[in-house]
Amino acid sequence: MFKSKKSRTNRFAAVANQHVSVGRDSMLDSEYPFRLNMYLDPPTDEITIEEFEIFALDRLQVLKAIESAKLRNLNDEQFKKDVQYAVDKYLPMHSNTAFDLISERRKDHISHFVLRLAYCRSDESREWFLRQEAALFKYRLLEENVKDRSAFLESAKLDWHVVTAEQKQAIQNQLERCVPLKIKHNVKEYVEQQTYFEVPFEKVPSLVRQRAIYLHQGKAYVPMEHQTSLVMEEFTSRLESMLVATAKALPRLEEDDRLKPILLNVEKQYVGKVYGAEQVVDGDLTAANVDGAVEQHAPLCMRTLHDALVQDKHLKHSGRMQFGLFLKAIGLSVDQALLYWRMAFSKKTDDEFQKNYAYNIRHNYGLEGRRVSYGAYSCSKIIKGDAPSAGDHHGCPFRHFSSGNLEARLYKDKLLPNQVRDIMNLIQGSHYQLACTKYFEFTHPGHDRIDTIQHPNAYYELSVASAAETEQGEPMDVER
């Protein structure tokens, strides 16, 4: 596991300098023969505390650039440009030996592992880290030339069984049926020329789900064409399990006082803020103010719930959770919450309210049962979680509304036709959070290009902030 560092001269650099004229190539070959890295083994050499921090922050810049480029739905060319810019600036990775390849690859290796420490702790941060690392890996995989890529993959021992010619012949017909649509002619040649891998179906869930490959007795027959898919699957699943393992080992590592503050600082950079998990909510929001605050500043998901609550004087359990925790996070104390919900559920008697609903409200504030103060739901939780069914109003409108209903709602909120179209296009591409971000931009004119919405409370806070600034007459800090 990752050993602690000493804050003196980097011995490795001293050693490397010594060997610079003699064994540089061999060291490159043995330590870092490829640009690509599956990050299976942690670095074992020593580094300085400064390197520990700087490498991590530099890598973080690259990951954030990737996230940004991905979420802005840029075309391929623009995406590459943006990412390459960040890579060149913070984490250069050349293949030309004119550059100091060992240092580059070493930095890549170390920075990955430091970030692992920083991001392994919670489900959300792990998920975020996994997504960005996978995107970075995929970017680099695709940029690599065929020769180096194949060599790398071989070395990675991905233990894929290659289908022999005889085996292929036996299933020729079936393979031909599964050839990708774009190969209209010469299906037979395609099958004959492609290399096929035989892998357990669990390794390629997306290909199985789409019925894109031939499956027999639990084995999927995957053409080289889909190799990227296979590699990514492998990379992601390995990193996922390693992150969980790291989280388990973390308490021991934190004994090093020098590393702890650095890791905390790194973690803070990520907008994976948990909203509303404090036990005592010290807000100044009163029950009476909730309606106004929600109508003015809450995101569409919460306003939908609020509308339903006002209309039906009731919300089902999932809706109460999603909306209730949101309110807690914007500063509604437990007493004000009890008052608010009591007034909202006006058709219930006091007794019914006490019996069926009060307990749960208090539970959310950590005053009952396990005494855990729950955090408000993030966008990814709402989008991926428990889908609404009949009678439900929770979920993400951009994800869970039928397109007709969503469009109607957008028009109702006074969006223009071209704005509605923009949003619907994003929905087509399943970019729900981007759609919500766009919605924010359209409904808060003069404040464009905000970071993608990751959390309903982030939306709320941004809205409140923009209203405050509009009042003061100052433009928001917009990235150009």
Binding site: V208, Q210, R211, H216, G218, Y359
Partner: protein
Amino acid sequence: MFDDFLSDDDAMLEKNLASVQLGTPDRQQHGDPLRTFKVTQADHDPVLLLRTFYQRLFPYKTFYSWLNYSNAEPTKTFTHREFSFTLANDIYIRFQSFNDLPAFKKEIERLQPVKMDLGAIYTIRPKERKTVNEKAFRPLEKEFVLDIDMTDYDEIRTCCTGGDICHKCWTFMTLAIKVIDACLRDDFGFQHILWVYSGRRGVHCWVSDERARQMDNESRKAVIGYMEVIKGGAEVQRKVKLMKILHPSLERSYKTIEPYFESLILDQQGVLDTKEEWTKMVSILSDANIRDQLNNEWSNNPSLSGAEKWDQLVQAVHQSRNEFDSITRDIQLQYLYPRLDSNVSTNINHLLKSPFCVHPKTQRVCVPIDPENCDNFDPLAVPTLMTLNDELNKLAMGTSDSERKIPDYKKTSLKPYIDIFENFVNGLLKETQRAKRDQPDHSW
């Protein structure tokens, strides 16, 4: 203590009650054997009948051997498994677990649940989940399950709706079993598959291979997605859109169902017999000219048989430049291919009704179905609590010692179904034993 339990689960109660299928009210039909059960004599009091069932007929030992994946000492797959019960007064309790078979039997006989659901195997015994941190209580594995419900076929069956079934529409279920069973075995290599009658209008499937139990949600989603062909809600007419050349799995499935098209769909269901019905099929076509052409032709020639009308449809599609020939194949699939509820299958912690429950509305036992013999399964002949009780009463009082050793259920009409269950479990036990002997060779 019970109070504390309920109030903590209060939040889940509403949600779970919604997911517990209590079914739609039955339609009154003459002499319909599935009509809501009525109490006629004190002797046939459903509560007493249920008690007798749990005391004398429920196959505890085999059931335990199944969930325990061994007939010896209790293992985690039994002790850490979630059971949930629906009791007589609609009380629903979750996260029950048992340390061994006697404890399980005792509780069932005490509670006499109206319904029992099986859940996942967790990291901690579900009964003890509150003793640990929330994050420490997670599901680890569960059988891969499927639920096929006849109400999903309401838009294409003409003989019954809702909770009713008859011999004509039951064929849809037979087909579903054939198609899915072949897919699970041939394509995925699963071997230990238990098909169970849900007691009223559908079937459940329990895939118990170790490999299936250990699938994560992503893999489950992949398996069910692979098998799904019919997509679209009420507003979508054409629900099957496949390429000209079918995937090998679909080719096999299509070959299985196609022979039934004329007899089941055209003749028995008569989907082209009335204008109201044939409009549903015709509206799948996108070419308005063909739609009008067929409508007119069929309205003006009421004596045409279903098969003749279908031939005309196929011809019209073939001649049209606006429709691919494959649409007729897709229509057949839309009418015959299994309709699956993916929600049941994709989440590892989804609860599903246990085999050998008694359906409260029909009083029929949820018995296993042998997929090899599913053509001969008759849901209307499945034993009810009443018939079983009568059979038990008829058993001679003075039985010989050797006869007494045979468990009661083997002397009733439940026997053939229990045999299917025992075969299934024995196959599993052999597999588990073999796996233990040769060190786990996971070289899939």
